[in-house]
Assembly symmetry: C2
Homo-oligomer: 166 residues x 2
DNA sequence: CTCATATAGTACGGAAATCATAATATATGG
DNA sequence: CCATATATTATGATTTCCGTACTATATGAG
């Protein structure tokens, strides 16, 4: 749907290229800035960056087992045990024995402290809402599509790197 | 253009709201995925996540002093010393005494190992190029603008959090 | 069923990273 | 020249990371 006629006379390859490079650079900046925001939020909650990352994945992808989470977060299983210990001690998660396979554990985010997190992200959420108000619904759809595709590009690229040993 | 049941034909509040929430969720996913990609890249280069972050900032924002970099990366000055030691040992950066103020140090990224990094990011760069080919120049400008504004939103939100002590 | 093997999660311990504090070197203003 | 402020690094206590080994459970073969 965002395919437009190419090879047109009005089409300036140099302009497209510049715009593309702008986007890639902007994505780099955005990644760093969001990492920094999370670092601040984590600091307020006495959580390491990686702890907050795990919490984010858990909150988003529902209950997970340690092995699944470790794989998704690119962490050593033993490292994850330490992270889960911290999160459990802080009252962020619970570890329950799974019903089917009794070796495995189901990690669940506790809702209790959700408000704290939300309050800390509130400035960013408000700023984003203000920002998004300036776009038409069509533009919003373009942006959402771009973000989803970029995430997918990131996923396949990450897997490609993880697959090869050098 | 489709009419909506509630009021304004041009602006459907429900559709906009959904699109906005989609974007915020997509941004969360994208952040995690890019962090994961960097984790993989860092792993190949024997660099911690935070080391690669610092390198990225340095490569992007030119030579910096340790104090400036520490502030920009949200790190304790002493922590940064350790990071710089690792980066220097690995041949990623040099520390030169600044000309003006002889207390301060100028950290510069060495170009030598840039190729390695580029090669590792190549899958992502190619995927992004393919992805961007599907957009018109106008759409690219919309996306670039959105990314820049989001980064700015992240910056002000981060500063807001850093400013208050609770 | 019994045994071998595989898998999930964690305990343990050495190596490394983090960060508060102190120390050093230089700058700046009176 | 002196007092104070600032940039960076050294030191050391604490925490984190992660390779290895261990326990518990699952699965498959005979």
């Amino acid at each position: 749907m965002e395919q437009t006629s190419s090879g047109d006379a009005r089409h300036d390859p140099r302009g497209r290229r510049r715009a593309g490079n702008d986007i890639k650079a902007a994505l780099r900046d955005l990644r760093i800035q969001l990492a920094l925001l999370n670092h601040q939020v984590g600091g307020k909650l006495a959580l390491k960056d990686v702890d907050l990352d795990c919490l984010d994945v858990l909150a988003r992808s529902g209950p997970l087992t340690p092995s699944t989470l470790a794989r998704q977060a690119g962490l050593h299983p033993a490292t994850l045990t330490g992270i889960l210990d911290r999160l459990e001690r802080g009252g962020w998660i619970t570890r329950d024995r799974a019903r089917g396979d009794r070796r495995s554990i189901s990690i669940r985010v506790l809702p209790d402290r959700g408000v704290e997190v939300f309050r800390l992200y509130q400035p960013m959420i408000s700023a984003m809402d203000d920002l998004l108000d300036g776009y038409s619904e069509e533009e919003l759809d373009v942006i959402a599509g771009f973000l989803r595709r970029s995430t997918e590009a990131g996923r396949t690229s990450t897997e490609k790197l993880a697959g090869q040993d050098s």
